[in-house]
């Protein structure tokens, strides 16, 4: 759409600007403030320069948490995106059955995150949970509170359960927007199922898939509540992701300086990666002439 140049449009944006400035810029400034100061208590702060950043960049704790986080987000994206597309391709196109699928699939998305953690905490327990009990009955040694691998598998299955539907719904929305004529043309050309997917469906889904990947990346990178409730970051530090570590540091140990420096770097990493996704997304939008 051709947009009119109109500087007065700023007035329409002003309320958002003020509100977000209040709820984002002021807190962020506080974080910046802490990140360059040190304290000996009594609310007396003094300038510490960039020493906290330096400390954090050389701390194994942060690099380990970052490594676990990267691995987690990579696994999540590798599972949820293909699975979501697969589910979307198999969803019924119309009718009651289709509405039913949509409602059931959205259900996990609206459950409070700590309840998601609780559900899986119960579900995985060997004594009272269906999953744990079944695995135990099958003779598989499964214990997500003691065994690192089991904890990881449980956290990942939980996230797949929680969020795959989001990818599926987005992909489904993309599929619904393909005009029937495209499929008919493919049929006339006797295109294989794979060719239809590769040359018709995938390009048409590209835009929404970018949104899905962007959202899934951001949210999996910020994940806190679900693994915190499920495993508490354990066993040991095995599932201590960045947010869990940060909250431990800031609210648990009250190490404000390092925590603030950590926060800023954390935020920068997310922003940098998201910016790449966003740029790709807007380029795709332009190419489609939207």
């Amino acid at each position: 759409m051709n947009k009119t140049v109109n500087q007065k449009a700023w007035f329409l944006v002003l309320p958002v600007l003020l509100l977000v400035a209040f709820s984002a810029v002021i807190p962020l400034m506080t974080v910046v403030n802490y990140s360059v100061q040190d304290t000996f208590g009594n609310n007396q702060f003094f300038w510490a320069g960039l020493s906290w950043f330096d400390d954090m960049l050389h701390s194994d704790r942060m690099w380990n948490a970052l490594g676990r986080q990267m691995l987690f987000s990579a696994i999540i994206l590798a599972i949820e995106v293909p699975l979501g597309i697969f589910v979307a391709l198999n969803m019924p196109k119309k009718g009651v059955w289709s509405s039913f699928c949509l409602v059931v699939m959205s259900l996990p998305l609206l459950i409070p995150w700590n309840v998601v953690g609780t559900i899986w905490q119960i579900f995985g327990r060997v004594d009272i949970g269906l999953l744990g009990y079944t695995l135990d009955a099958l003779g598989i040694d499964y214990n997500y509170t003691q065994n690192t691998l089991d904890a990881w598998v449980t956290v990942i299955i939980m996230d797949v359960w929680h969020w795959t539907s989001l990818v599926a719904l987005l992909a489904y929305a993309g599929l619904r927007s393909i005009p029937d004529a495209y499929y008919q043309a493919a049929k006339i050309d006797q295109a294989s199922r794979w060719a239809v997917f590769r040359y018709i469906e995938l390009p048409k889904m590209a835009g929404v898939l970018m949104i899905a990947i962007l959202l899934r990346f951001m949210d999996s990178f910020m994940i806190y509540t679900e693994p915190f409730v499920l495993t508490g970051g354990g066993p040991g530090n095995a599932t201590t992701f960045l947010s869990i570590d940060l909250v431990k540091m800031a609210l648990g140990q009250f190490d404000l300086g390092p925590a603030a420096a950590f926060s800023l770097m954390y935020f920068l990493v997310i922003m940098a990666i998201s910016w790449v996704f966003y740029t790709v997304m807007t380029t795709l939008d332009k190419r489609d002439g939207k």
Binding site: M1, K3, T4, V5, N6, Q7, A9, V13, V16, L19, V20, S23, A24, I26, P27, L28, T30, N90, M91, S99, C101, L102, V103, V104, S106, L109, L110, I111, P112, W113, V115, I119, I122, F123, I128, L130, L169, Y172, A173, G174, R176, P179, A181, Q184, V208, I211, M218, M222, Y224, L242, V247, A250, L251, S263, Y266, F267, I270, M271, S274, W275
Partner: protein
């Protein structure tokens, strides 16, 4: 023209193929898609069913026997929650701040989304990305500063504090969704309305808002959803008066161990509002998740 011609040809071939024996046989077998969807939906429902199952059992039955159905059906767990103010006020508190947040987010996002979809102005692209970065901000980063900010202005443990804090990620999302929907409304409508003598506010309320009603519904749904599911900020910003249900649930861990039945019942009750909201927007869910960009 050509569009309408092609379907006819295809419907013809389809009616022809139905009569061949191979497809007739296939009709009695469930198709691959149905099987895939059934397995996937089962995977989604099982953990929720298990929670529901547990909420209808007594604690001794939960710990003593293992069964797919409650043997002694009991609603005592629900009774505990619905008769104890310290429990059910958690739901009330959550609903209050979620509704407040939805109203605030939509009220400020509507004009902004209009501006982004219709006009170009200095710094618009940068502003839009900056707004989105707030959606990317990890709540963990903001927990402590929010606590200090709202304590210092005397809003700690009030509903409005949580509602404002959740605006951090809901306002950018609402702007993003609404902008997508507004882009779909042709600009000629605006111009015609102005020629007809509508002022901007009158046009916006009387003509434009009804046109994007589904977009507003979807945006409200998402604000509701993300405010409802968030725990870290709402827990950090409240202690007693505005404590959300999600935080109240930790009460079930007592000296005598975990009260599993009540915990499960509380969990089931947190799913209910979400399920109700989904029902109302079910036809727009798919488009909404695509943020109006399909």
């Amino acid at each position: 023209m050509t569009d309408s011609a092609i379907p006819e040809v295809v419907t013809d071939t389809r009616t022809m193929t139905i009569e061949t024996p191979r497809t007739a046989q296939r009709r009695f077998r469930p198709s691959g898609s149905t099987v895939v969807m059934a397995i996937y939906l089962l995977f989604l429902m099982l953990p929720i069913y298990w929670l529901l199952n547990m909420s209808l059992k007594t604690n001794s039955e939960i710990l003593g026997t293992f069964s797919f159905f409650p043997r002694n059906l009991t609603f005592a767990n629900y009774e505990t929650i619905l008769t104890d103010p310290s429990w059910y006020m958690g739901y009330v508190n959550s609903l209050i701040y979620v509704v407040m947040n939805t109203v605030i987010s939509l009220a400020v996002a509507l004009p902004a989304a209009y501006a982004f979809s219709r006009y170009s102005f200095m710094g618009d692209k940068h502003l839009f990305f900056w707004l989105l970065t707030n959606r990317m901000a990890p709540p963990a980063v903001f927990a402590l500063p929010f606590f200090q900010l709202y304590s210092s202005i005397g809003l700690f443990d009030t509903h409005i504090a949580v509602a404002l804090a959740h605006c951090l990620f809901n306002v950018p999302l609402a702007v993003w969704i609404l902008e997508g929907f507004m882009r779909g409304v042709p600009k000629e409508i605006d111009e015609t309305a102005y020629i007809d003598g509508y002022s901007f506010p009158a046009f916006f309320v009387k003509i434009f808002t009804p046109l994007i009603a589904s977009g507003i519904g979807v945006a409200a749904f998402f604000c509701f959803m993300f405010s409802w599911v968030e725990l870290l900020l709402s827990r950090t910003l409240t202690s007693v008066d505005a404590k959300p249900i999600a935080a109240t649930m930790t009460r079930t861990v007592g000296a005598a161990g975990v009260d599993w039945g009540v915990l499960a019942a509380a969990g089931v009750l947190t799913i209910v509002p979400g399920a109700l909201v989904i029902y109302f927007v079910r036809n727009y869910i798919a488009k909404g998740f695509a943020l109006g960009r399909v």
